[in-house]
């Protein structure tokens, strides 16, 4: 109890400072990435301006993968050490990952409709990505509604098995010939990005990574703070009984 109260008192003042800074930072990052994608990047030859969705679609997927990897590592550490901080990091990274994966799944069909003529198809990449989203939504539901003292252990075990879908999603366009295009970067001899496009893409990738880190830090601090509050309530209840 004493430790969690101390941890919570450390978190509270930094939260007040973080809120306006994070709001400004996220708005600035969204503004810069939108400007780069819609005004600076050159128009693609075949697809035209709708291809500019790429500059939000791919970085969102990258951050989602990164968050799910952090969730995988934090869950492993939790099973090993049973520390509240690794459990909080696992919960935070899963939630942030789901948000970015949701944007990935929404921007994809908005790009597919004018280019393929369809919103959705059950090909390997799209299906495995939807399964990935469902796995992490289930993980969050498990954490939210599971009763009893073993929730964190169950969630950590679930997360470790759930992460198996991430490499499958990544490799799906390499293993199977799908409706989804082959990888643009690192996809072999016939793949590649125009240098002007690559600069914007890499800038957006960096900005989205920073945005993901900001969300992760805020969400982690919130999780720790909520944990501290729950401990304080439990302590109060025990004092009441005594």
């Amino acid at each position: 109890m004493a430790n969690s109260e101390k941890a919570n008192s450390d978190v509270e003042p930094s939260m007040k400072k973080l809120a306006p800074i994070s709001l400004l930072l996220i708005v600035a990052l969204l503004g810069i990435t939108t400007y780069l994608a819609l005004a600076v990047a050159p128009t693609e030859q075949t697809m035209g301006d709708v291809q500019r969705i790429f500059y939000y679609h791919v970085p969102s997927g990258w951050v989602a993968f990164l968050c799910f990897f952090i969730n995988f590592v934090a869950s492993g550490v939790y099973l090993w050490k049973r520390s509240a901080s690794s459990d909080a990091l696992a919960a935070a990274s899963a939630e942030v990952g789901v948000v970015f994966c949701t944007v990935l799944l929404i921007t994809g069909p908005l790009w597919a409709r004018p280019v393929w003529g369809i919103w959705w198809t059950w090909d390997a990449r799209l299906t495995t990505t939807l399964v990935l989203w469902l796995i992490y939504v289930s993980y969050l539901v498990l954490r939210r509604f599971s009763a009893g003292g073993q929730t964190q252990v169950l969630a950590a075990a679930f997360a470790i098995f759930g992460f198996a879908d991430v490499p499958i999603v990544y490799m799906s366009i390499r293993w199977f010939r799908t409706q989804h295009p082959s990888p643009v970067m690192g996809g072999g001899q016939n793949s590649g990005l125009d240098p002007a496009m690559a600069h914007v893409f890499l800038a957006n990738l960096a900005a989205f990574t920073l945005m993901g880190i900001v969300f992760l830090v805020l969400r982690y601090k919130l999780q720790m703070s909520e944990h501290g509050l729950e401990s304080a309530h439990a302590q109060m209840a025990l004092k009441g009984i005594a």
């Binding site: 708005v27 969204l30 819609l38 939000y56 944007v103 929404i106 304080a232 109060m236």
Partner: protein, 66 residues
């Protein structure tokens, strides 16, 4: 550069506009949700601290002077 000139420099289609608008809404909405939850937790903590201090009884009980 005014806002009209700025917007005319953007290469938008209805689909890309929808994609960017939804992404902005999702990320800002999520940030708003986190900040509101932080505020709620801070308020609950203050309330708990108030309750704890008002309910604190003295450790030793003494006879009234009357």
């Amino acid at each position: 550069m005014n806002s009209t000139e700025f917007l005319s420099g953007m290469h938008l289609t209805p689909y890309s506009a929808a994609a960017y608008a939804i992404a902005w809404l999702a990320y800002l909405g999520y940030l708003g949700r986190i900040l509101l939850r932080m505020k709620k937790v801070a308020e609950e903590r203050e309330e708990l601290e108030r309750t704890t201090t008002s309910n604190t009884a003295p450790a030793t009980l003494k006879r009234s002077a009357v």
